[in-house]
């Protein structure tokens, strides 16, 4: 039985996060019952400071990935903190504001950016769990992203040489139906859904052609079909690996904006 890709890798982190979250909410609720809650009060400021501290620590994760050789703990531990800390920070922001609708441009910006950073991060977690499992279970081909265009080019040349000296019917079939699919890599987000439908579409034209070919040419046809299948798998690898590399843009930009606004927010609070 395959493990679920969404099962937490370190359950202790998840359990601790839930415990801290529940405890924080209880503290908030009790405090609020006892006295009026405001972001500038002791309770509000505590949660705000905690959120800011976690945001800053979370922002150090990319830096950790640049200082690989340094003895700063395992990357997995850093990532776990980045994830669970990020979720907690989002909750602390909500507690800081007392779950009130923000007022003013700064409040709205901070709240929206916090939500965006958290949601894009969680989206990234989903992608990082879903895509590798998909690539491994659905595909037989495995390739390094940077090398995929080169391998695809090699496949195309292989296919070109396979039809040299083939009967006219096979050559025409290759030129009109197959060549275009082999021509270049066509990355698509649609591959996230699965590869079977697209594979069936690309392989369908091969059916029925065998009847017109000699046994020798059927071997060529089989060769072409496996090239087309391999090319499609490469395309899926390329598309999904690209997605894994690119999603981070949607996360990093709001995070940077959030950090910048956070500095302004803290400065403003201290000044006024």
């Amino acid at each position: 039985m395959a493990p679920s890709p969404f099962a937490p890798k370190r359950p202790v982190w998840m359990r601790s996060t839930i415990a801290i979250a529940v405890l924080s909410i209880v503290v908030y609720a009790v405090w609020r019952e006892a006295s009026p809650w405001s972001p500038g009060g002791v309770g509000g400021l505590t949660f705000g400071t905690l959120a800011a501290a976690i945001f800053i620590l979370d922002a150090l994760y990319p830096l950790r990935r640049r200082l690989m050789a340094w003895p700063l703990g395992t990357a997995q531990r850093w990532l776990q903190f980045h994830l669970y800390g990020g979720v907690l920070a989002c909750l602390f922001v909500a507690l800081h504001t007392g779950f009130r609708v923000p007022s003013g441009a700064m409040g709205w910006s901070l709240s929206l950016l916090t939500a965006w950073a958290t949601m894009s991060g969680l989206g990234g977690v989903w992608l990082q769990k879903y895509v590798p499992a998909k690539l491994t279970n659905d595909l037989s081909v495995e390739a390094i992203y940077e090398r995929i265009p080169e391998i695809a080019g090699r496949l195309q040349r292989e296919a070109d040489s396979l039809v040299v000296g083939a009967p006219e019917v096979l050559q025409r079939f290759y030129t009109t139906t197959i060549r275009d699919d082999l021509d270049r890599l066509k990355p698509s987000w649609a591959h996230l859904g699965g590869v079977r439908a697209e594979l069936a579409r690309r392989v369908a034209p091969f059916q029925g052609l065998e009847a017109f070919l000699s046994p020798e040419d059927r071997v060529r046809l089989d060769g072409l079909q496996s090239i087309v299948t391999e090319k499609l798998e490469l395309e899926v690898q390329y598309s999904l690996q690209r997605l894994l590399k690119q999603w981070v843009v949607f996360h990093v930009i709001p995070c940077m904006a959030l950090l910048a606004l956070l500095v302004v927010h803290i400065a403003a609070v201290l000044a006024f």
């Binding site: 690989m68 050789a69 990357a75 850093w78 990532l79 495995e142 390094i144």
Partner: protein, 519 residues
């Protein structure tokens, strides 16, 4: 020159004069004097006469050799130089890895490879290292070998690391008998005396130590060990040979002294791999204890050297030691469990078979990537590169087996053939440790190691040599981040925990790890 009686007519005329002269020269060695020309002709490519000047190191402790050395002329000194130094045989440099400051200091003052390589004596894990010279060695005492002595044959046959330095005392000439020639010689009836001599040397000098290294025999007294030593047969098997057949009467206890053996059970028309045995592993004790037939078959995966102790002798010794009997019972239960598991979970057998087919069983520390969790971020490669001055020591691309990928990274083989014949000794492994490292200051870029690596895991990279004053290609390979207290950076810096290193030393563990939760 006269034609040998075994030669076909006309064959002699095809012999070139140089070859004929070489054959005559070989016949001057006493043990080859009665060897036929036809056999000598086959042996010639693997017989090398090599001079050494006084003071030159012929074999280095911790190194590996693919040749027995027959001392034709001169005197050599055998010395356990490492024990002389009194340095502790510990692999990793001492470092306080518990504190941040300790680990930082350790990384900043990264220990040089020279401090931890070329150590000998007793392995860090307490393993007793057999000696492969024809004499007893003592720390701080050179033993001199004279013309007519043979040394290094155990390393060549069983791929034990050489356990002592052998240094030329005078100008010396050696006849190097490379492993293929040694194996060929063992099969020639006309060279039976030579095999007998080598076997007797092994029996008298090494076997007792090797028997004691087996857990079953560890508590035996001198007398019992001597008894087993006297009756043991030393047998060799070609790759693919069936050593014992499942269902055959259990006739002996087998101890592997070199090579790999597949343990299999019948499954339908074929057989399923249950496990494999490597140097120091043994089989047969349970069948002998129960007085049953062989429950498994044993197949030689490659050239295999075995120690075989006949049923009566084994049972006689066993009868005297109830503790040993109890130990065999316990191991019988464990093995039955494991066998049951393999039968219940065919995937385990498939992974074991795969490990045997692909040579992974040689690996002491193989890098595996779980593709079902790997996000292909390449942080493992970047971490490797950062740790090694900008040049990564492995390629993430590799063979895919279901959800596992085996990148092109050194397996740190049990039997590192890459270490054989390095002209400067730049490639080495500290005794009792896993890391096979290349010292870039002494590597001359001859590509010997990269050509020898059967798995293409040593890569030659351009480098400007200040010593030679020109650009050369230096061999580079994974060294398990030797000197890095946190261990291999590739594993430590994988954010998803997908990169793991496993030793293929324990087949049961390998089967469990690889097949666990596999789809």
């Amino acid at each position: 020159m006269t034609l040998d009686k075994h030669e076909k007519p006309g064959e002699g005329s095809a012999v070139d004069p140089e070859e004929a002269a070489a054959i005559q020269r070989m016949k001057q060695y006493p043990f080859l004097a009665h060897c036929s020309d036809i056999v000598l002709r086959k042996l010639l490519p693997n017989l090398i006469e090599k001079p050494f000047v006084a003071g030159e190191t012929i074999l280095r402790a911790g190194g590996y050799s693919d040749a027995a050395h027959y001392l034709a002329q001169g005197v050599v000194a055998v010395r356990m130089s490492i024990i002389e130094t009194g340095r502790p045989p510990v692999a990793a440099p001492p470092a306080d890895t518990r504190s941040f400051s300790g680990t930082t200091r350790a990384v900043l003052s990264r220990t040089s490879a020279e401090d931890v390589v070329q150590r000998g004596g007793i392995g860090a894990n307490g393993e007793v290292l057999v000696t492969d010279v024809s004499t007893d060695l003592s720390p701080n005492l050179d033993v001199l070998l004279q013309a007519g002595d043979v040394f290094g044959e155990m390393s060549a046959l069983s791929r034990y690391p050489v356990s002592a330095d052998v240094v030329a005392q005078t100008d010396v000439t050696c006849l190097l008998i490379r492993t293929p020639a040694l194996r060929m010689m063992f099969k020639q009836k006309e060279l039976a005396d030579f095999k007998r001599m080598i076997d007797e040397r092994y029996r008298s000098r090494t076997l007792a130590n090797q028997l004691r290294s087996v857990e079953l025999f560890a508590g035996l007294d001198e007398e019992s060990i001597a008894e087993l030593q006297a009756v043991a047969d030393l047998t060799s098997y070609e790759p693919g040979a069936v050593i014992v057949e499942e269902g055959a009467p259990a006739d002996a206890f087998y101890l592997v002294r070199g090579g790999f053996v597949k343990v299999a059970v019948r499954a339908g028309a074929g057989d399923a791999a249950v496990s494999y045995l490597r140097r120091g592993d043994h089989a047969g004790e349970i069948a002998l204890l129960l007085d049953r037939t062989w429950p498994v078959s044993l197949h030689a995966i490659e050239h295999v050297e075995m120690v075989k102790i006949g049923r009566e002798h084994f049972q006689k010794v066993l009868a005297r030691y109830p503790d040993v009997q109890q130990m065999v019972w316990e191991s019988a239960v464990a093995r039955l469990k494991e066998r049951g598991r393999v039968v219940r979970e065919p995937l385990t057998a498939r992974y074991l078979q795969l490990a045997m087919d692909t040579g992974l069983i040689h690996g002491e520390s193989v890098l595996l990537i779980d593709l079902s969790t790997c996000t292909r971020c390449d942080d493992c490669v970047r971490a490797c590169s950062d740790t090694h001055g900008g040049t990564p020591r492995f390629v993430r691309e590799g063979t895919k087996f279901r959800r596992w990928s085996v990148p092109q990274a050194c397996y740190q083989c049990t039997d590192p053939v890459c270490m054989i014949g390095c002209p400067t000794g730049a490639i080495s492994r500290p005794l009792g440790t896993l890391e096979v490292t290349i010292n870039k200051d002494t590597c001359i870029g001859c590509h010997n190691c990269s050509k020898r690596c059967p798995w293409d895991n040593i890569v030659d990279v351009p480098f400007h040599s200040p010593t030679l004053g020109r650009d050369i290609e230096l061999a580079t390979k994974c060294d398990l981040c030797l000197g890095r207290p946190q261990g291999p950076a590739c594993v430590q810096m994988c954010p998803h925990g997908s990169a793991v290193r496993i030793s293929f030393k324990d087949p049961a563990l390998v089967g469990r790890t690889l097949s666990e939760d596999a789809s």
